[in-house]
């Protein structure tokens, strides 16, 4: 009898079955679209295998310029975000300044507003402010600077959160131990606090780098539509182009962006060391 029960248990694994909805979701919304993109990227308008889309993407010098600019914008935004978010997260994680966590919510508050409206508001503010110094709209004269300002503003909370989480978990004893062993406050920072927060830094980098690579609405708004990033071109091919191969070229471009993000993730992961990924902020 017990054998029969065992058999039945083996056949129906309730816990395992809980994965089914997730699996279906993944298949429908992640794997299937990816396969679709792959199919489009390597076929021509007649559905025949072809590298023509890739030739089209890479033969255009304008595309190269846009890809390069996108990468630079994303990289600079990420670095600036980390530089700003790190001290903020440090203060927030310190009970002395943030005993009731209200400050955390204040820093996240801008996320409650629709980000297009937020960006338009920021644009007006930035232009008003820089008019005093350069006598013209920043968005028109230095579009790249304006885009980076917009990106940093919009994605800063995504950098603060993982860093804040990581810093809450910091072992305060290790900080004291470092001071006890003769490290001055600067050495304590570089030798214990930074190593302890590397998983948070990696998470924060990913959380800002990935969306800045792909989002083009902020770029449009902050540069008065004058500057293109990779998202704009993809949008052009999928949205506006009437060419019969529009979806095919767009797919190839999407894959280019995917690869840039993928390679960056791999580099970041290898930088953060082996076990750190386990402890990472939100990954």
């Amino acid at each position: 009898m017990s054998e029969a029960v065992l058999k039945q248990r083996k056949r129906f694994n309730f816990r395992g079955s809980l994965c089914i909805p997730y699996g279906v979701f993944m298949a429908l919304f992640v794997i299937f679209p990816l396969l679709l993109i792959l199919y489009y990227a390597f076929t021509d308008e007649n559905g025949k295998f072809s590298f023509g889309n890739w030739g089209r993407v890479f033969s255009s010098p304008e595309n190269w310029k846009v890809i390069g600019a996108t990468f630079m914008i994303a990289a600079i935004t990420t670095i600036v975000c980390i530089l700003i978010a790190y001290p903020i997260a440090y203060l927030l994680s310190n009970k002395k300044y943030n005993s009731n966590k209200v400050l955390v919510y204040i820093f996240l508050l801008p996320m409650w507003i629709n980000f297009v409206i937020r960006t338009i508001g920021l644009k007006a503010l930035v232009n008003a402010f820089f008019k005093v110094f350069i006598g013209a709209d920043l968005t028109a004269t230095y579009p790249y600077v304006a885009i980076i300002i917009g990106m940093v503003y919009d994605y800063l909370p995504f950098a603060i959160l993982p860093l804040y989480n990581q810093m809450l978990k910091m072992d305060k004893n290790q900080i004291e131990a470092a001071a006890d062993l003769g490290a001055n406050p600067f050495q304590v920072f570089t030798k214990t606090i930074i190593p302890m927060t590397i998983p948070g830094i990696v998470s924060a980098c990913m959380m800002t780098f990935m969306p800045t690579m792909s989002s083009y609405v902020i770029a449009n708004k902050m540069s008065e539509n004058s500057t293109k990033i990779i998202g704009n071109i993809i949008e052009f091919w999928f949205g506006q182009s009437t060419s019969p191969i529009s979806n095919h070229v767009g797919s190839a471009l999407s894959l280019v962006m995917l690869m840039i993000i993928g390679v960056t993730l791999l580099i970041e992961k290898s930088l953060s060391g082996k076990e750190d990924t386990k402890k990472g902020g939100i990954w």
Binding site: Q174, A177, A178, G182, M196, G273
Partner: protein, 516 residues
């Protein structure tokens, strides 16, 4: 900056004390009471000193002030005669072994131990162009560091572990690495904050002996914090018993054990029978309803009829035939403890714990005898609670955060209430007593406690509990940090929340000073 030994060291060599704490007080900003109060202690070079006390007694706070992680609210900490109380930790030639090891998880063992060495700068002398000798500072070389790390690993018995990762070590090994990391810097003082707390019993015993051995070998001053009295007795040259932020007694382990200063120390160190006694004539002290011969040394210290605490260690009581001892009792329980039997003997209602190798049956009547020098007589800290009170508008008395309907007439000789219920003096003049400060004395026996929350308006937690022969002495602390000490025959638990009931008949009021 690396830690540098203060060059003054050599000059004040005649000062035998490496560290002196003078009137050190510490109060945390979010608390009303002192965590450490009036702490005075001098520690000699090379001594093994242990701070011993229950949790929350201020021992770790004191250690952290010596390390520099906390700054004293007031008072001075002298290291070799120089005040270091405000110096940041990294400038003090003192290293700490932390309770939870605090090893750097991102570094391997070698780099953990070398952490302090890599930061250190040592002086060296060079002759410059003009022929003068100039002192310069340099980092240690790789070879020097590697040599020192190797030696430190040898001291803690973990040779060849350099390349291993911290996460591959057991708790005991991590603790050894933490010790190696501290001693490799050759600190003047090594602070150990309950370093063996997380280890199992066998490991702990081993490490105790090893630490003691290590102390002998490297010869630096150890300051050790523990709540384990056995650990303190085993390892230390000097024990500092602390309670409630204050030093209770400082002495050698044997002194502390044999001659405890007060009932708290006696109760905390080892097993004790503690009774309330009364000094009598002719070198005698009365407790357990009998007159006992007392140690003449103690006798001179107390006037006749003074209430005292009497401590007798279980192993100092000699069992005799009934009638042959000072008092007779009935064995109520018997436990075999390996080396001896532990008996609980009832003398009247009082319990006496006795350790003896003789085998006797439960229910048997035995006589009890104690050598006079083994009867420790000590001053009772107090028998009453004292509070600062004041008189409220409607002639009630306020103290300990509550208002009590106490008769204040006796405070004002000749005074009485007139028809309008106003207090007047003999001439009919109104006496302004509002907010007049008075002393309130509440004897221990005036207080009872109840677990019924509606029994009174005063609620508190039991923070300490000492068994004194036939009753317990209990301290209750309210949310406003007011303490009530009381005696009760009933057993309560620490941290119980209780209502405090005060028998107002027994409360004594007196006026402050001679103010008119």
């Amino acid at each position: 900056m690396a830690k540098e030994k203060t060059p003054v060291n050599e000059v004040v060599e005649e000062n035998p004390y490496i560290i002196e704490l003078i009137d050190v007080c510490k109060k945390f900003p979010d608390s009303d009471s002192y965590a450490v109060e009036n702490f005075n202690l001098k520690i000699k070079k090379g001594e093994f000193v242990t701070f011993l006390g229950p949790s929350g007694c201020g021992k770790t706070t004191t250690l952290r002030m010596i390390a520099g992680f906390e700054l004293p609210t007031s008072g001075i900490i002298n290291l070799n005669g120089q005040d270091i109380s405000l110096l940041p930790p990294y400038k003090r030639p003192i290293n700490t072994v932390f309770q939870r090891y605090a090893l750097f998880a991102h570094l391997n063992i070698y780099n953990n131990i070398a952490f302090g060495l890599k930061l250190k700068k040592i002086p060296y002398e060079v002759t410059d162009k003009n022929g003068n000798t100039v002192t310069k500072y340099r980092h240690l070389t790789k070879a020097e560091i590697s040599e020192k790390v190797k030696n430190a690993l040898k001291v803690v018995d973990l040779e060849g572990f350099e390349k291993r990762d911290i996460s591959t070590l057991s708790g005991g090994q991590q603790q050894r690495i933490a010790i190696a990391r501290a001693i490799v810097n050759e600190p003047e003082i090594l602070l150990l904050d309950e370093p063996l707390g997380a280890l199992d019993l066998k490991m702990r015993k081993e490490m105790q002996l090893e630490l003691k051995e290590m102390h002998k070998k490297i010869g630096i001053t150890f300051i050790y914090v523990t709540h384990d009295q056995e650990e303190a007795l085993t390892m230390s040259d000097t024990i500092v018993v602390m309670n409630d932020g204050e030093i209770q007694q400082v002495g050698k382990p044997k002194e502390i054990y044999d001659e405890p200063n007060n009932a708290f120390v006696a109760d905390f160190i080892g097993e004790s029978n503690i009774y309330t006694g009364t000094m009598a004539k002719d070198n005698k002290v009365r407790f357990l309803n009998k007159y006992w011969d007392a140690d003449p040394v103690d006798f001179g210290k107390f006037p006749v009829n003074e209430k005292v605490d009497v401590v007798v260690r279980p192993e100092d009581i000699i069992l005799t035939k009934p009638g042959a001892g000072t008092v007779d009792g009935v064995i109520s329980s018997k436990i075999f403890k390996g080396m001896h039997y532990e008996y609980i003997i009832l003398v009247g209602k009082a319990e006496v714990v006795v350790q003896s190798t003789a085998e006797l049956d439960e229910g048997a009547t035995v006589g009890l005898k104690v050598d006079p020098i083994n009867i420790q007589i000590m001053k009772k800290p107090f028998v009453s609670n004292f509070y600062d009170g004041y008189i409220s508008r409607n002639y009630d008395v306020e103290f300990a955060g509550s208002e009590f309907d106490l008769d204040i007439l006796p405070l004002f000789p000749g005074a009485k209430y007139n028809d309008e219920e106003t207090l007047v003096d003999e001439n009919g003049q109104e006496i302004d007593v509002e907010n007049l400060e008075i002393n309130v004395e509440v004897p221990f026996e005036a207080i009872t406690i109840s677990d019924d929350p509606n029994a009174s308006d005063i609620h508190g937690n039991i923070i300490s509990l000492i068994y004194i022969g036939d009753h317990y002495e209990i301290m209750v602390r309210t949310e406003d940090d007011e303490d009530f000490i009381l005696t009760t025959p009933d057993l309560w638990n620490e941290n119980d929340t209780v209502s405090v009931i005060i028998d107002l008949e027994k409360v004594h009021l007196s006026r402050k000073g001679a103010k008119k």
